[in-house]
Symmetry: C2
Subunit: 155 residues, 2 copies
């Protein structure tokens, strides 16, 4: 299940004090996903996810001023409680998006009672990798993951 590193990856790797199945729920149940997915005070206005290969996701992010930012993607690989792969290169039904930007490989590996949580975010070019880093990937995903961890502790 380990992911072969690629030069165009951005990676977040953390040992989280929650079972893999709980973290998987936080990623795949809209009522949970909306609670942690973007750094506060941003919010999720709505989340629709069809978690199966070829199924789409529609997540609308909302900034503190109320402006909405829809994000659509498709699930490429789903291994219950262990792995999720998705991309914005398609929407549901393999419809090509305007601009393929990233592919995310989320791995949940049990380590004792904890979970080795690895988010590998992969880009089609070094240019977009750098762009994503400059957009604040590490801070943004880091804060979101703090929120994920806090939510998981309540479940």
């Amino acid at each position: 299940m380990s992911v072969q590193p690629h030069p165009q990856d951005l990676v977040l790797n953390r040992l989280i004090n929650a079972p893999a199945a709980t973290l998987f729920r936080c990623w795949t149940e809209p009522a949970l996903l909306t609670q942690w997915f973007v750094p506060k005070p941003w919010t999720i206005a709505s989340a629709e996810v069809d978690v199966r290969v070829g199924g789409g996701s529609q997540i609308v992010m909302c900034d503190p001023q109320g402006n909405q930012y829809p994000n659509a993607g498709v699930y490429l690989e789903v291994v219950p409680n262990r792995k999720l792969v998705f991309t914005d290169a398609y929407t549901a039904g393999w419809v090509p998006s305007a601009k393929p930007f990233m592919t995310a490989i989320i791995a949940f590996e049990p380590e004792g009672d904890q979970t080795r949580y690895t988010a590998t975010v992969r880009h089609w070019s070094e240019e977009t990798r750098k762009q994503h880093e400059a957009m604040g990937f590490h801070t943004g995903w880091g804060i979101s993951t703090d929120q994920l961890e806090a939510l998981a502790a309540t479940l």
Copy 2:
């Protein structure tokens, strides 16, 4: 199983006098794939296919002068005897390719003893769709499909 049309599609649709399972074999068994996949006198020098979601394909095409053209891709969706979806946007393990060009949705739908065979080849932009058309999509895929049909008749 029907595919929602998209403006950036190129489509080949044909009723073939062979069972869906036979056509699926021709697409997924290297010893068969090499016999029909490129219009003669082009040939396939080698074909390696790992037909499962996230599995890679490595197909080396060979022109009449012996020049080799490697093509790598990944399977996005596999429904035995009914559907294959693959793209050159990744190679095995969700490794991004240099340039995402196309996604192919191959549908095999039984119609009596025959098969409604639909190859939907989808592009990320109108520009690449036109480029693929200008490269001879309809002639090339048409001749290959004639070869597929002839091979299937012998199985």
